[in-house]
């Protein structure tokens, strides 16, 4: 295995969920294409940030990498082995090296297990840690690493604040000394002042333990802060992938541009000057995605030709900068001007419908998959 080989390579990954209908016989009437042909590679020791709105398939992608959901097609190559074809003991062995931090820290911790039991379970399950004393020492080290007092051992998840719970979740994930950590919305359920603590902790652990991260989030500012490479997903496929700085300095895909212009900046001066690109309508249904470029129904830069009919491939515009847009060069050079959302809505007529319009069941299925947990 050469050093240049990425730790994780995903090739043509697809996850389709069948839509069943019928009283006695479950007929499959269609598929929700949650992930539809994604390629990505993550180098050792780096952080790959995956952003997109709810329902774009980013969480499903993360789960498919761990095989928590079965991929429909495609390969997930982790350190040279194809995870998608493994089963039984080899899969368990690979999973030890890939761990996950979940979004909702309370929902992902068993309320009836105390912290000691929560943290020792993965060690015992994988036969690691070396006996009772070994495990006890190891757990103490883990708590120390995530900044919790050792008095926490005898306590239960409900006794902790949100930030502390997320620390427990992180401690559990790193207890097996994984190579890859998949963090699905690690901070979106936390208060603003606590988010920064967890982000800093993740960064510190990455340096100390030489971890590789796949961070899935809807918050572009957080992703920008911690990622080396960022991929933007829309309706199941990557529309843009670029080094973090390059992407934020000059987003090339129309969707990335509008996404970034929608993020409010905590500075009134910037807010007043900032260019805002409002998108028309809602995310279309992934059960019945638009033809051609999937973004064409909402795209302010849509052209009469190609956009509606021809799916744009992900192509490399500059070193490391992948974009799937037919007109990326013209948009970058300012040849094409954006249209207002009203114009886009008018040209698209009824097709700017919410996902729920066509198929409420699908909508329910898609929504709530990774919508942010409410903060109150």
């Amino acid at each position: 295995m050469s050093a240049a080989e990425p730790l994780l390579r995903v090739e043509g990954l697809q996850v389709h969920f069948p839509i069943k209908r019928g009283l006695f016989v479950d007929r499959t009437v269609g598929h929700v294409r949650a992930v539809d042909g994604v390629d990505l590679a993550i180098d050792r020791g780096t952080t790959y940030g995956l952003v997109g709105e709810s329902g774009c398939g980013k969480s499903t992608l993360g789960r498919a990498v761990l095989r928590l959901v079965e991929p429909t097609a495609g390969k997930v190559v982790f350190d040279g082995t194809d995870v998608a074809s493994l089963s039984g003991e080899p899969l368990r062995a690979v999973r030890r090296r890939m761990q996950m931090v979940f979004q909702d820290p309370l929902g992902s911790l068993d309320p009836r297990q105390n912290v000691e039991s929560l943290l020792s379970e993965p060690l015992r399950a994988h036969g690691l840690g070396g006996g009772r004393e070994g495990i006890a020492a190891k757990i103490r080290g883990l708590l120390d690493a995530v900044g919790l007092p050792s008095a926490a051992l005898r306590r239960y998840p409900h006794e902790f604040s949100g930030g502390q719970r997320q620390r427990i979740g992180i401690a559990r994930a790193i207890s097996l000394e994984p190579d890859l950590l998949i963090a699905d919305e690690p901070v979106s359920a936390l208060d603003v002042s606590v988010q920064a603590q967890v982000v800093n902790l993740l960064e510190e652990l990455q340096q100390r333990l030489d971890l590789t991260y796949l961070v899935i989030a809807h918050d572009l500012a957080v992703v920008r802060h911690i990622s080396d490479v960022v991929g933007v997903m829309y309706l199941g496929s990557l529309v843009e992938q670029a080094p973090s700085d390059a992407l934020y300095d000059e987003p090339l895909h129309p969707y990335t541009r509008s996404l970034m212009s929608a993020v409010p900046v905590p500075d009134p001066e910037v807010e007043e000057r900032r260019e805002r690109i409002l998108l028309a309508g809602d995310l279309p249904s992934p059960a019945n995605p638009p033809s051609g470029c999937r973004f064409h129904t909402r795209c302010p830069w849509r052209q009469e030709t190609r956009c509606d009919t021809e799916a744009p491939p992900l192509r490399e515009l500059a070193p490391g900068r992948w974009v799937s847009c037919h007109w990326a060069e013209d948009i970058r050079d300012g040849v094409l001007r954006p249209k207002s959302p009203e114009e886009v809505a008018a040209t698209q007529g009824v097709s700017v419908r919410a996902s729920g319009a066509v198929n409420p069941e699908t909508d329910a299925l898609v929504q709530g998959v990774d919508t942010p947990v409410e903060r109150r």
Binding site: V194, A196, Q197, V265, D267, P268, S355, R375
Partner: protein, 356 residues
């Protein structure tokens, strides 16, 4: 446009602020437990056409404040003190009838979670027209036409069809729009929006914020925006009140507040959010501890246990008095004895490494 300007008579009445909250306090009592004071001496005013932001983290009392203003808190186990005057009418202790007449007609609220604030078994159209039939002298047909216009105004495509649909058939952004349409139905003079965009995606959030912004400009509605997102505040609010542990700790105009945060908590909040336009890799400086690490205001500044500027006299037993909310320059108020110096140091308010 379906939302008409204020009738002349009402506009004349609204000389003073639309909403005047004075020394509002809310105490929850439960048998066998010490009472919890969720809101403690909160005062603010909102003028017509003005947007006021209440900012704070979970548990700081911002939502309870809004519920108390609307008179939506249950009577049992809750004690509301102080005064809330809406266009000269005292709302605290007002009979249910008065409140019912005002709510929906003159003051309205948009809640955070649109799915649980809409009735799932009633079509959207019925829910929107209900407000109109209740408060205005219109026939069913007129109300339905007005509802169509309202949905159209808030940007719901094909409103005629949508009126017959149920909440689950609408996407999250549309539900929030429908909720806003209901709130706007009777052209209220005051709109309270409690985290209206927290459950939404950023592109949808941008659409909703734009809608609220237009609304304030076009109709002169007074808007109270409750949020934890400083970015939303920066783009929308004229005046900002930062709350912590049930009290307002800093009030300032938007530009002033973001340019020169004075309270260490405000400074800490600003330093702990990553900015999209900032330099990458710039370290975040979180506030240590969590919102649980507070002390009662009677014993001193509630933020003192998490504050890096805290000194001994932040505690009541040392200084002999609780920390007051004081005048701090033009149009600014501050509740702190050791505020940040101007301009704030680049490292922010609190030390990094917060893992304690």
């Amino acid at each position: 446009m379906s939302i008409e300007a204020l009738p002349a008579g009402e506009a004349a009445r609204a000389d003073g602020p639309v909403l005047q909250v004075d020394d509002l306090s809310v105490t929850f009592t439960r048998r066998g437990e010490a009472p919890t004071r969720a809101v403690d001496g909160v005062s603010f005013a909102v003028d017509a056409g003005e947007t006021v932001g209440l900012v704070g983290e979970s548990g700081c009392g911002k939502s309870v404040t809004s519920l108390a203003v609307m008179g939506l808190l249950p009577r049992r186990g809750v004690r509301v003190g102080g005064s809330v005057r809406f266009g000269g009418v005292e709302l605290v202790g007002a009979p249910d009838r008065t409140l019912r007449d005002l709510r929906g007609a003159d003051m309205a609220m948009v809640f955070q979670d649109p799915l649980s604030s809409l009735n799932p078994v009633v079509p959207i159209g019925t829910q929107v027209t209900e407000v109109l039939l209740e408060h205005r002298d219109v026939s069913r047909g007129e109300a339905a036409d007005e509802a169509t216009r309202l949905l159209d105004r808030v940007g719901i495509p094909d409103p005629g069809r949508r009126l017959k649909e149920y909440p689950h058939q609408l996407s999250g952004g549309m539900r929030q729009r429908a909720l806003i349409a209901m709130a706007l139905a009777c052209s209220p003079r005051l709109l309270i929006a409690d985290e209206p965009t927290t459950a939404l995606d950023v592109t949808i959030q941008a659409q909703i914020l734009e809608l609220l912004r237009e609304l304030v400009v076009d109709t002169g509605t007074a808007l109270v925006m409750i949020t934890h997102d400083l970015g939303v505040v920066a783009g929308l609010c004229d005046r900002v009140h930062v709350m912590y542990a049930g009290r307002i700790i800093e009030s300032a105009d938007r530009h002033d507040l973001f340019a020169r945060p004075r309270h260490p908590y405000t400074g800490g909040l600003l330093a702990s959010v990553p900015r999209l336009d900032g330099a990458r890799g710039a370290p975040l400086t979180p506030i240590r501890g969590s919102a649980r690490d507070t002390i009662p205001w009677a014993e001193g500044c509630a933020f003192a246990p998490r504050c890096d500027h805290a000194q001994d006299d932040c505690l009541t037993e040392v200084s002999g008095s609780t920390v007051p909310l004081e005048h701090d320059g033009p149009a600014r108020e501050l509740r702190c004895r050791h505020p940040l110096r101007r301009p704030p140091s680049a490292t922010g308010a609190t030390a990094s490494g917060a893992a304690r």
